[in-house]
């Protein structure tokens, strides 16, 4: 499966795509550096707010969406899925390898710049640790969901952006029940708990938030396997 993983990483790592998404990361670092240690409320609170508002609300879901939705979605749309589908390999292995490829690309482009941004903001080791953990779990959760979306619908990128911006950005703020259906609520909760800040929004318990994110990732993985197994291939 190593060759398949390399193939999928190579297919996902278009130069323009990498540059564009890396630029989003650079913006995070610049924002972190410009906050300054003398920001009102203290650097920890402001660093956490930055990671929450920009990193967990935009960078993590968007970068993960780009790679996870295309890792199987692009082959499905361009007709190359047949070369993966007709292999004598359990479907879960194909999906796991594909998710591995998506994570390989998404994690460095999210966790590294946000950890640098947290460092640059002067929030200290606690904020950096909280950022790394919440980003990593968030990427895993979003990857499972968006990989399924990539196989399930055409123009998955558009649907994914609508989910991130409209659902998570606006609809999920309408009430606590709706907020549970937004992964952002859980990633921000993990960040808030681990950093000990309030601006990140530490709603619900840490354990529940981590469980929701891991369940979302696992559920997305299971749905992707099911979809790949049942899908008709052109």
């Amino acid at each position: 499966m190593a060759l398949l993983w390399r193939t999928l990483v190579g297919a996902g790592a278009g130069r323009g795509r990498l540059i564009g998404l890396a630029a989003l990361g650079v913006v995070a670092v610049l924002l972190g550096a410009n906050l300054g240690a003398d920001a009102p409320g203290g650097p920890l609170e402001h660093g956490a707010a930055l990671v929450s508002a920009y990193g967990l609300s935009l960078l993590v879901p968007v970068v993960t969406l780009v790679f996870a939705s295309s890792v199987l979605g692009d082959p499905s749309e361009d007709g190359t899925l047949v070369y993966l589908w007709l292999q004598p390999v359990p479907r879960w292995q194909l999906v796991l390898t594909a998710l591995g490829a998506a994570l390989t690309l998404a994690l460095p482009l999210t966790v590294v710049p946000l950890a640098l941004a947290a460092t640059a903001s002067g929030g200290g080791l606690r904020l950096v640790t909280a950022t790394v953990v919440s980003c990593t779990i968030g990427v895993i959760a979003y990857a499972g969901v968006f990989a399924w979306l990539g196989l399930r619908v055409r123009r998955a990128l558009l649907w994914g952006v609508l989910y991130v911006l409209v659902w998570e950005g606006f609809v999920a703020r309408a009430g606590d029940t709706v907020a549970l259906l937004a992964l952002r609520t859980s990633t921000r909760s993990v960040l808030g708990h681990l950093s000990g800040t309030t601006t990140a929004g530490a709603e619900g318990s840490l354990v529940v938030s981590v469980a929701i994110l891991l369940l979302a990732g696992a559920g997305g993985f299971a749905l992707t396997v099911r979809r790949l197994t049942r899908q008709e291939v052109a």
Partner: protein, 302 residues
């Protein structure tokens, strides 16, 4: 090796394949039909890429949709041109070999590429390859794990005549060695070179099945319209009509007559003697409805 039992496939209101049944064993079988006849859908059913809406499809006794282990014994040349364009041919074929558990995948991939006369050392990405080269890469990836069942969807598309002849020879040899080779084509002349067994598919139905020569005779003996160019069209037309070789005659010009035959074989036997009897020089004989579509329409209507 392959068994379809009253297999149907429809997409919404469109019936792509209707109650098709056949069994295939070792050897080459050509799936012949015009574009849109349902050939690719049948091949997708055989490979498990699509599930039948009704009926049953089995390969090696198992359900190709449910048992991925069957793919170890299956090689497919799909119709679509898409490949992993950033990869080299060697890496692309090695990927298939590797996922099929072939030992020394790169060496086997290189061997498969040599079989189709491609250079394994070519470092260019597949996006630079011509249509014919891409077609041969697809054939190499289908062959690399030495499958018992080879499914080829229009495999000669885009190839030059020399490559066509070479691949036809290769597939015939694989059939003679005991593999089951199922190949689709819409070119009648091409199918003749594949071998003896033919499945004719038209409008989603199996219109004819059996030995190629028998089916060709069936096709050639159908009613047809033929234009004859001659220096004495009226005389020749009258002679053919009188001999009962044709059902209708229309003189369409000073040197042309169009006839409607009811029995192609009888017409072929009678046309030369009729021309001699009429004192006419027969300059040209052109079938006006000899395209595959009309052949298939006839077979379906029988």
């Amino acid at each position: 090796m392959v068994e379809l039992d009253r297999a149907s496939k429809w997409f919404g209101d469109v019936v792509a394949v209707s109650e098709v049944s056949f069994r295939l064993g070792p050897g080459v079988t050509a799936l012949l039909g015009p574009n849109g006849a349902g050939k690719s859908t049948v091949l997708r059913l055989v490979c498990g890429l699509a599930s039948p809406s009704q009926g049953e499809v089995r390969i090696f006794g198992g359900d190709p949709r449910a048992d991925h282990r069957l793919y170890r014994r299956l090689g497919l040349v799909p119709q679509q041109q898409a490949l992993f364009d950033a990869m080299t041919a060697l890496r692309f074929v090695a990927l298939t070999a590797s996922l099929h558990g072939v030992t020394a995948p790169e060496a086997m991939a290189a061997e498969a590429l040599c079989v189709v006369e491609l250079d394994p050392g070519d470092g260019r990405g597949l996006e630079t390859y011509s249509k014919g080269m891409r077609q041969r890469v697809k054939v190499a990836q289908a062959l690399v794990h030495d499958p018992e069942l080879l499914v080829l969807d229009e495999p000669l598309d885009g190839l030059d005549p020399r490559q066509r002849a070479r691949l036809i020879g290769l597939f015939r040899r694989l059939g003679e060695e005991g593999r089951c080779v199922l190949v689709s084509s819409h070119v009648l002349d091409e199918v003749e070179r594949w071998g003896s067994r033919v499945l004719v598919l038209a409008q989603g139905r199996l219109a004819a099945e059996g030995d190629f020569h028998a089916i060709r005779d069936l096709m050639e003996d159908r009613p047809r319209r033929i234009r004859l160019r001659t220096d004495r069209p009226q005389a020749l037309g009258a002679e053919l009509l009188g001999a009962g070789a044709v059902a209708g005659v229309t003189v369409t010009g000073p040197d042309a007559v169009v006839v409607d035959t009811v029995d192609g074989a009888a017409f072929r036997r009678m046309v030369a003697p009729a021309a001699r009897a009429a004192g006419a020089r027969l300059l040209e004989l052109v079938p006006l409805d000899d395209d595959l579509e009309s052949v298939f329409r006839y077979l379906v209507g029988r």
